[in-house]
């Protein structure tokens, strides 16, 4: 795992500055402390690290390539653009990195049942996959609305042997799927591990998920230094909960690299239909963490919207809130329309169909590339592939 020199967060209480923490009912406090203690021991355990590496290599297909996007580079006529190819991971997105790590934690703790929340279904599929591999019972909470929108992933999870629990409370999307998963976890704490899908939730999840995802940045650093003999100048990643972004940013946090997170502006920041949490949200407490949150004046959590179900979340990882306040990472947002255009452009230019989530990061290139010099290097984290989004993309060519 990555160890940085000076940046040493979260602190022992799980705080990133004022963000993070464990804002959950008392029933969960002791199990979270046990999880933290177990995980802290495990992360320096050689046999655990070897098993993790073996699974990452032989099961998931790591390291994923760093691809020079020659046509995209030509198109913008500025710096050189590289793509970190998380779309080539087993199951089609970076989500598997975390699922593999946490299934080993759960197994080690003697849990025999796994639960998870999912929005677009990518995390659900990753969890169902590792549960199949490790023969653990698996229940995936998914909003009624998302089940309708993401049928191919629902079918994949079923084929992998997972039980899908339809969530009909609240907004019937990712936020309420997570609420129901937390309620299930409180009720079945003895035998159940909750695999949270992003760098969100109570401590130690934001730290643990970051650690498992930071393999993205670690590989990127080695690859770009081998290819170009130096670090990149800029790294761009999309941010919903923020796990792929933290994953690629983390090993570069202390370096002189411009880190850029791109949120979903949905139909536009001037409308309610967006989920640009770091751009429009304010300090809040939600899903066990203190972080930026999209909420109304009474502190009720807002219904959010993005064309990309994976970014459709009113909260964001607490470390991102800290990195924003400390100006270590800059956060911007792009609209549905810009993301769709970017997906189409990348597909035609490079022969790579990106996930809608990742297309948000690609879309930001048009803002940043004109300001780059030819000797600059820009890396975009291509967090997932677009197979799951063909229902949405088909409107682009009819």
């Amino acid at each position: 795992m990555n160890v940085l020199n000076n940046y040493n967060l979260p602190d022992v209480k799980g705080h990133f500055g004022k963000y993070g923490g464990k804002f959950v009912p008392e029933t969960l406090i002791t199990p979270l402390m046990e999880l933290e203690e177990y995980y802290n021991k495990l992360k320096t355990d050689i046999s655990f690290l070897e098993e993790l590496e073996k699974l990452n290599t032989e099961y998931s297909g790591r390291p994923t390539p760093l691809t020079f996007a020659s046509n995209l580079t030509k198109h913008y006529n500025g710096g050189k653009i590289y793509l970190k190819r998380e779309d080539l991971c087993h199951t089609g997105a970076h989500k598997i990195n975390n699922a593999i790590g946490q299934i080993l934690v759960a197994k080690g703790m003697g849990k025999d049942r796994i639960i998870a929340e999912t929005g677009a279904g990518q995390h659900g599929v990753a969890v169902a996959t590792v549960c199949a591999k490790f023969s653990l019972r698996c229940s995936i909470f998914m909003g009624e609305e998302d089940i309708k929108r993401q049928m191919p992933n629902v079918l994949r999870m079923k084929m992998l042997g997972a039980e899908i629990i339809e969530v009909t409370s609240g907004t019937k999307t990712l936020k309420d799927a997570a609420n129901e998963a937390i309620r299930d976890w409180v009720s079945n704490i003895e035998n159940t591990h909750y695999i949270i899908g992003s760098v969100v939730g109570p401590h130690p999840y934001p730290m643990m998920v970051r650690d498992f995802q930071s393999i993205i940045g670690k590989e990127t650093k080695e690859q770009i230094n081998k290819l170009e003999g130096k670090n990149p100048d800029k790294i761009i990643a999309c941010v919903g909960g923020g796990s792929n972004a933290i994953g690629i940013f983390y090993p570069f946090i202390e370096d002189d690299v411009e880190l850029i997170g791109v949120e979903a502006a949905g139909k536009g920041l001037e409308f309610k239909e967006n989920c640009a949490t770091l751009t429009l949200g304010k300090d809040g407490i939600f899903h066990g963490m203190r972080s930026y949150l999209l909420q109304n004046e009474f502190g009720q959590v807002e219904e959010v919207y993005s064309i990309s179900a994976g970014l459709d979340y009113p909260g964001v990882g607490p470390e991102h809130s800290y990195l924003k306040d400390e100006k270590i990472v800059s956060y911007f947002s792009v609209t549905d329309e810009e993301a769709l255009k970017a997906a189409k452009m990348l597909s035609k230019a490079e022969g790579i169909i990106p996930a809608l989530e990742s297309a948000h990061a690609i879309a930001y290139l048009k803002y940043i590339m004109p300001k780059t010099k030819n000797d600059e290097i820009i890396i975009v984290n291509l967090s997932g592939r677009g197979d799951k989004d063909m229902e949405t993309y088909k409107n682009l060519f009819v």
């Binding site: 008392e26 406090i29 002791t30 809040g284």
Partner: protein, 263 residues
């Protein structure tokens, strides 16, 4: 000494146990909520807990979730809840506790919330998603006039129960089972846990809640605690009837009747 603790002590000293009843603010009817609250007091509730509705109540089961959603739809918020407390206070001196999740309180402003709570006549506060570890940072020093009631659960180890007893004021809220509010009692309450509560919590009075819906449920926990908290069963009953809520008030009477002469 705390008004809440005094009240519990006075009741226990008579040989009775305490009944704390939970209502969702402004539910089922925004207009006559004050009247309902007073009737609940008159029917035998010793303490009233008023829940501030929140969009994402992770500690609550479907019954309280639904009541919260309805309350939110009708525009219930913290300011209106303070208005209710002020109205109730005109006619009753019994303890009133606000129960709510952290975020609406954070949005209202911690200091402002503390001041307005005290001003309107609130005696204590329960925020289930602010566990003791986060309390100092969250509450700062604004809550000296209010009891901060902390929770323990079956997963809480003995040392931590002791620590929570030390931090809590008013009473300690003992969650009966690992779960959410309003769960039917297919899960048996662990007697060892009740025994531990009884022996470990010495500074505070103890009230047991979650899954207590009838005199029969109460009977199982009464030997180990100073009183009970009933929420979902009341809300469920309120969903089924209209004002003057006779069945719900009867349930409160039945519950209170089962708490006399226990010691």
């Amino acid at each position: 000494m705390s008004i809440i603790k005094n009240k519990i002590k006075a009741i226990n000293d008579k040989g009775d146990k305490v009944l704390s009843v939970f209502l969702t603010s402004g539910f089922p009817n925004k207009i006559n909520f004050t009247e309902l609250a007073l009737n609940i007091f008159n029917a035998g509730a010793d303490i009233l807990e008023i829940g501030i509705p929140f969009s994402d109540p992770i500690a609550d089961g479907s019954v309280i979730q639904k009541s919260s959603q309805l309350a939110l739809k009708k525009g219930i918020n913290i300011s209106l809840t303070f208005d209710y407390v002020q109205e109730i206070r005109k006619f009753s001196t019994k303890p009133i506790i606000l129960m709510g999740y952290a975020n609406p309180i954070l949005a209202y402003g911690i200091e402002r919330f503390a001041k307005d709570s005290f001003k309107s006549g609130v005696n204590g506060l329960i925020i289930p998603d602010i566990p003791v570890n986060e309390q100092k940072v969250f509450y700062k020093n604004h809550f000296n006039n209010l009891d901060i009631i902390s929770l323990v659960a079956p997963t809480t180890p003995v040392n931590r129960i002791k620590m929570i007893d030390g931090e809590s004021s008013g009473f300690v809220y003992c969650v009966s089972i690992n779960g959410i509010t309003g769960i039917n009692s297919d899960k048996e309450i662990n007697e060892n846990y009740l025994e531990t509560i009884k022996n470990t919590i010495t500074k505070n009075k103890t009230l047991v809640g979650f899954g207590i819906s009838s005199p029969n449920d109460a009977k199982k926990v009464l030997p180990f605690c100073d009183g009970i908290i009933v929420g979902s069963a009341i809300i469920k009953s309120l969903f089924k009837e209209k004002s003057p809520y006779q069945k719900t008030l009867n349930l409160v009477r039945e519950l209170k009747n089962s708490l006399f002469n226990i010691n």
